[in-house]
C-alpha cells in the first residue's frame, strides 16, 4: 500500500524511432494499448478509450521528442502520471515506464479499494479484521 509508483523497463530490439512511433501515434497505440488521440505536444489534451473503464481524460505534461513523453492519465479518476522514457542502446531500445501517483483517496483508488462501487460499506473494515487473522 505504501508503494504508489510502478516502474517497469523493457529491452526492445528495435530502434528508438520505432518505439517512439508506437507510443505516440494513435493508430499504433490503439494496437497495443487502447484507442486515443495522443500527440507528442505539451498541453495536448486527449482521451484514451479504456473499454469497460470508459474514456479517460489525459494531458501531455512533458515531451522530449524521441526520448520522453509524460502525460496525466485518467484525470479526475485515477489521477496518475504515465512517463515513457526511451534509452537508445547498442541493439535497440530500453523502454522505461513510470506510472506514478496512485493514491487511495482518488475516486478510482477508493473504488478499487472498497470494491469498485457503492453498496459495500463495512466490508473494508471487516477485511482488515479478516486479514489480520491470517497474516
Amino acid at each position: 500500500m505504501t508503494e504508489n509508483t510502478i516502474r517497469l523497463e523493457r529491452r526492445l530490439p528495435h530502434p528508438t524511432a520505432a518505439v517512439w512511433a508506437a507510443l505516440t501515434t494513435p493508430d499504433l497505440l490503439a494496437r497495443w494499448w487502447a484507442p486515443g488521440d495522443i500527440a507528442p505536444v505539451v498541453g495536448h489534451r486527449f482521451t484514451m478509450d479504456m473499454g469497460a473503464w470508459g474514456h479517460q481524460q489525459c494531458e501531455v505534461l512533458a515531451v522530449e521528442p524521441g526520448t520522453l513523453i509524460s502525460f496525466l492519465f485518467s484525470e479526475g479518476q485515477l489521477d496518475t502520471t504515465v512517463t515513457w522514457r526511451l534509452e537508445a542502446v547498442e541493439d535497440g531500445t530500453v523502454l522505461h515506464l513510470e506510472h506514478e501517483g496512485f493514491r487511495l483517496d482518488t475516486p478510482m483508488g477508493q473504488q478499487a479499494f472498497e470494491g469498485m462501487g457503492n453498496g459495500w460499506p463495512g466490508l473494508l473494515s471487516r477485511i482488515d479484521g479478516v486479514l489480520s487473522g491470517v497474516s
Binding site: I6, R10, A18, A22, A112
Partner: protein, 104 residues
C-alpha cells in the same frame, strides 16, 4: 482493462456473497438463497469469484462449501500491483506490435 479481481468485486451480488463469507463458510445453497437469484446465475457469480481467487470451494458430501480467500482480498488492497501486471501485459503487446511492424 480492469484486472479480474476488480471485475469480480464490481458486481453487487458478488459483494453480497463476499460480505456474507466474512462471517464464515457458506454452502452454495445458502448463498443462492441469500441472493434472490436463479441457481445458475448464483453459480456463475461463484465461478467468477473463484476464478479471481476470492473464494475457495470445498466439496463436502453433496454440498459445496465456499470459503472466503482473504489473501485474494488483500490483493484488492494491493491494487497498484494489478496495474503493474496490466502494464507488463501491455508491454508484451507493444513488443509484438514492434516485431510485426519491423521492416524486413
Amino acid at each position: 482493462m480492469l484486472p479480474d479481481v476488480f471485475g469480480a468485486v464490481s458486481n453487487p451480488a458478488r459483494r453480497v456473497i463476499l460480505d456474507e463469507l466474512c462471517d464464515g463458510p457458506r454452502t452454495a445453497g445458502e448463498l443462492t438463497g441469500l441472493l434472490d437469484l436463479s441457481r445458475s446465475a448464483a453459480s456463475e457469480h461463484l465461478a467468477v469469484l473463484r476464478e479471481a481467487g476470492l473464494v475457495r470451494e470445498e466439496r463436502r458430501g453433496r454440498h459445496r462449501l465456499y470459503h472466503l480467500q482473504a489473501a485474494g482480498l488483500a490483493e484488492v488492497g494491493g491494487w497498484v500491483k494489478h496495474f503493474e501486471r496490466y502494464w507488463t501485459q501491455r508491454l508484451d503487446a507493444l513488443e509484438n506490435l514492434l516485431d510485426e511492424e519491423k521492416p524486413s
